[in-house]
Subunit: 230 residues, 2 copies
DNA sequence: CGGGATTTTGAAGGGGCTCAACTTGAGTGG
DNA sequence: CCACTCAAGTTGAGCCCCTTCAAAATCCCG
């Protein structure tokens, strides 16, 4: 993720650490920290709302289940990012789940306090508003893609999104440790299909693999797969 | 749509007329009205952002295209509802389109003014925040459904959503005039498939047809189709 | 070394899309 | 009032992408 300082640059600002100054004092006084292990459930769809969370360290997947076996990963929250904020103004029940996919520390403030903060701190409310609008644009693009884009394009877009959010390692691999199952759930397809697609993309030199790590070898061709003409 | 007066009842509040009192004075001074005809495009994906709109009368579909022929309808904006607000904090380009599906009048205020209003009117900003969070929950449910729910369930859910938003006529039909093509785009499937599904549901006495109008004859069974066990 | 979880590969089946033809209906002009 | 036209509704057939199921191979960690 690019470093940014301006509020206006919302496209690359996920209410990240640069934005925290707006509500940092409030949080410091009220937050509680949790140490979370890999694959530890932070909250589940159907659970009563505890509050709004943000990631201190580690990575959290925000996902929604279908039946017992299937899920769709809606987004990943990495260091500095907020999650659980969709519960704002709701019925007090989480409509999505949050699970750590890397060990880390998450903080939360209870919902009442968070809402009070919003009412008192207009700047913070405004930033959150911008962030939610951005969230919505991303979500609706994903929705459209699931309806019309073939799996290959969705996998390509998923990888590009991961690269944009997590950046690259020194060797040029996408800087996140992600199980193939989670990648499949993020792309909205089955494990086997995603596996086959990745194999094919590797054959065609669009990707390069090293264990679980994935390197984008031909960004332009990958990007082209996400376009409508294909 | 149920009539509501409390802000807290956000699930049935779409920044509707009951909420307008917060920003009505500001709007009255600055809004411009447009008369729109059936199937008239209000703005298109890729257009520069003009401002934020709301519906005075009529019905507007908010949709996103894929290629030349395909689209997905994300939501409908009916009387009193806001649309175009996803452009907030964006890059100045609409990421979605808005098209009238019924003759009516839409108003808009330019984006700068709207953002100023948000900064000055904390109550309004707070309400919009709640609305966006609600919007996000709806959007993410739709996303999940497209990934995992079969077409029959999606059509069922689409009809239930339409009933909730537009209510029923005196005869018990869903109170909106909607082309089958638009219904299909709303459910995220093709015209033909949706047609067949509706035929089947009519055969099984879950629905009742009269011309283009649709009546839900067995709500419970229809609802069951949207559940995961099916 | 053993065993459970991933990875890899194959084969089968179906749900939904595509295409194409026919029917119906509404509007239009003669 | 009727023919004409064009859009929308209706139905059938084929097929393909993706899922599902199943099994073998490999990895990994105690």
């Amino acid at each position: 993720m690019k470093k940014i300082t301006l509020i206006e640059d919302i496209e690359t600002c996920f209410l990240c650490k640069n934005c925290l100054k707006e509500w940092l004092p409030a949080i410091l006084a009220h937050k509680k920290n949790y140490k979370v292990k890999r694959s530890e459930v932070i909250f589940n769809e159907g659970d009563p709302v505890k509050g709004v969370f943000f990631v201190n360290s580690g990575v959290v997947k925000v996902h929604k289940r279908w039946g017992a076996e299937k899920e769709l990963i809606l987004r990943f929250a990495s260091s500095g990012m907020i999650f659980g904020h969709r519960a704002l103004g709701g019925d007090g029940i989480y409509s999505i789940s949050a699970t750590a996919i890397q060990e880390g520390i998450v903080s939360y403030v209870d919902m009442d306090f968070f809402e009070t903060t919003l009412r008192v701190n207009a700047d913070f409310a405004y930033k959150l508003l911008m962030f939610l609008a951005y969230d919505l644009r991303v979500s609706e693009r994903k929705t459209r893609n699931l309806a019309h884009m073939p799996v290959k394009g969705r996998v390509a877009e998923a990888l590009i999104n991961l690269k944009d959010q997590f950046g690259l390692t020194a060797e040029g691999f996408i800087n996140i440790e992600l199980s193939r199952q989670d990648l499949a759930s993020f792309a909205g397809a089955t494990y086997e299909t995603v596996f086959r697609v990745i194999s094919e993309l590797t054959q065609d030199d669009l990707l390069e693999l090293s264990g679980k790590s994935i390197k984008i070898a031909n960004y332009d061709k990958l990007l082209k797969l996400t376009e409508e003409a294909a």
